[in-house]
């Protein structure tokens, strides 16, 4: 069967973030995760948008044979995939965590830290739809943290990269 690691990782990433972060809020049903920029009519806040921005060979192995675990007969390499994670919330949206209400910049601050935590803590075994071997994950700094006055949105973005074993 043809390998489909990019889709499997992208879907696992979205499921993992949503599953983790929504367990932290009072209703457990507050934060929306989208795999692409949603249409205006479908947009709900606060939301997390996962955008794949790059992928390619990270590191080839000598002789191209790989021997991770029992896979001695396969060839492959370490393959990288890069994402931009965007957070957005509007002026009115309120999320209750514990007994505290979070809005606007306070909500954005909370989201930045807890999405980063979720990214670090994803257990790929739980969400993978095909057997994955994730070698590395790197979450970089949040940037473009700010407010868009035209639409009353607060937002931030960060880059992350994942390196996995591309077996075939």
């Amino acid at each position: 069967m043809a390998k489909d690691y990019l889709n499997v990782i992208e879907r696992a990433l979205m499921m993992g973030i949503s599953d983790k972060i929504n367990t932290l809020t009072a209703t457990g049903d507050d934060i929306y995760v989208f795999g692409q920029f949603p249409e205006t009519e479908d947009l709900k806040f606060p939301c997390i948008i996962i955008q794949q921005i790059a992928s390619g060979v990270q590191e080839k192995f000598f002789g191209e044979n790989i021997s991770f675990g029992n896979d001695t007969s396969e060839t492959g390499e370490a393959y990288g995939i890069g994402f931009m994670i965007h957070l957005m919330t509007d002026r009115d949206t309120k999320v209750t965590v514990g007994s505290t209400d979070y809005k606007q910049r306070r909500l954005l601050n909370w989201l930045m830290l807890n999405v980063a935590n979720a990214l670090q803590d994803i257990n790929w075994d739980t969400y993978e739809e095909e057997d994955l071997e994730i070698l590395e994950r790197h979450v970089l700094a949040w940037n473009d943290i700010g407010f868009m006055p035209q639409v009353d949105w607060y937002g931030a973005s960060c880059r992350m990269s994942i390196v996995f074993l591309n077996k075939r």
């Binding site: 920029f37 949603p38 249409e39 009519e41 479908d42 809005k103 606007q104 306070r106 909500l107």
Partner: protein, 324 residues
């Protein structure tokens, strides 16, 4: 308004005469969002913070006056303003441009409104009486009736429960943004209830409060119908005094976006509840709104104002119907 200078153009008279000949004279609802107070802190573990309250910058849910810290007057009560009845000449009447963006497709537009002079607006009903309004500002909202989707016949009855409209079978609701009507009565309005059939079960959206009406003049009430949760607030002004209405439900809250017009996804009725007495209603509109944000104002003193407005929010009906 006899002491108001109307200028050589006499914009109010011009608007009155033009509105019989063109629909470019619009009856707008002026809305200014509430100014919420900011989250602050005056205490630390085991004591009081030195200096005035620390202002964290983000808003709380309250627009009420704030009296924390040593500088006790830094926030006066500033609720939402919802003032219908602002007549303007609009050009062009509908400006709608579809733009493809990262977030999909967005409807935008731009137009100019020609309003009576500020002195005239300041002397109008509600505008003159509330202490919050002093001038049009950039970023204020002007809500226009872009299209009336459903309307009800004029209504007059002596009762406490008033079924103002019973919708035909398969009447869709996803295009409705707001409800507007004029009401005259010596009674008190306590509830506006819109009910619908969502997946075979009856659900409702109610606006509840206690609004003493007027038996001598019609009051215009304009309330939102979409994207509401129980506990959301809106405002009705009468003689400059605000009455707060709270969103709720008689059973489960209605999401009118889901009412796409099948027999199990349709509107059922509009029912008003008042204290006992004669109630008269007219100009009852369920409408699709155009939300205009003021961007620039040119004030020609005694004559008129030219208000440039942009439309930054807009949705395609097809997607609203599809996504519910």
């Amino acid at each position: 308004m006899s002491n108001i200078k109307l200028g050589r153009v006499n914009m109010p008279k011009l608007l009155r005469q033009m509105r019989h000949r063109t629909s470019q004279v619009r009856d707008l609802v002026f809305i200014r969002d509430p100014i919420y107070r900011k989250e602050t802190k005056t205490t630390k573990s085991g004591g009081t913070l030195a200096g005035p309250a620390v202002n964290f910058g983000y808003e709380s849910d309250s627009h009420a006056a704030q009296t924390e810290g040593t500088n006790a007057a830094y926030h006066a009560d500033s609720p939402e303003l919802v003032l219908p009845g602002l007549k303007c000449l609009q050009s062009p009447i509908i400006s709608r441009v579809g733009t493809l963006e990262r977030t999909g497709h967005r409807i935008t537009g731009a137009c100019s409104f020609y309003t009576p002079s500020l002195d005239y607006i300041l002397a109008m009903d509600n505008f003159s009486e509330t202490t919050q309004f002093n001038e049009l500002e950039s970023y204020d909202k002007l809500i226009d009736i872009e299209r009336i989707i459903e309307r009800a016949d004029d209504y007059s009855a002596t009762a406490t429960s008033h079924t103002v409209k019973t919708f035909a079978d398969k009447t869709s609701g996803y295009q409705l943004d707001r409800l507007q009507f004029k009401i005259k009565s010596g009674t008190t309005l306590t509830k506006i209830a819109l009910s619908g059939n969502e997946g075979g079960s009856t659900k409702s959206l109610t606006w509840s409060g206690s609004l003493a009406l007027s038996s001598s003049e019609y009051i215009t009430i304009d309330v939102p119908l979409r994207d509401l949760e129980a506990g959301d607030k809106t405002s009705v002004y009468k003689d400059g005094v605000r009455t707060e209405l709270t969103a709720g439900t008689d059973n489960t809250i209605l999401d009118i976006d889901k009412l796409y017009g099948a027999s199990t996804y349709d509107l059922l009725s509009l029912v008003l509840t008042t204290s006992s007495g004669l109630v008269e209603l007219k100009d009852i509109y369920f409408y699709k709104e155009a939300e205009w944000r003021i961007e620039a104002i040119k004030d020609y003193r005694d004559e008129y104002m030219e208000v440039s407005a942009v439309r930054v929010r807009g949705e395609r009906g097809s997607r609203r119907r599809a996504y519910g």
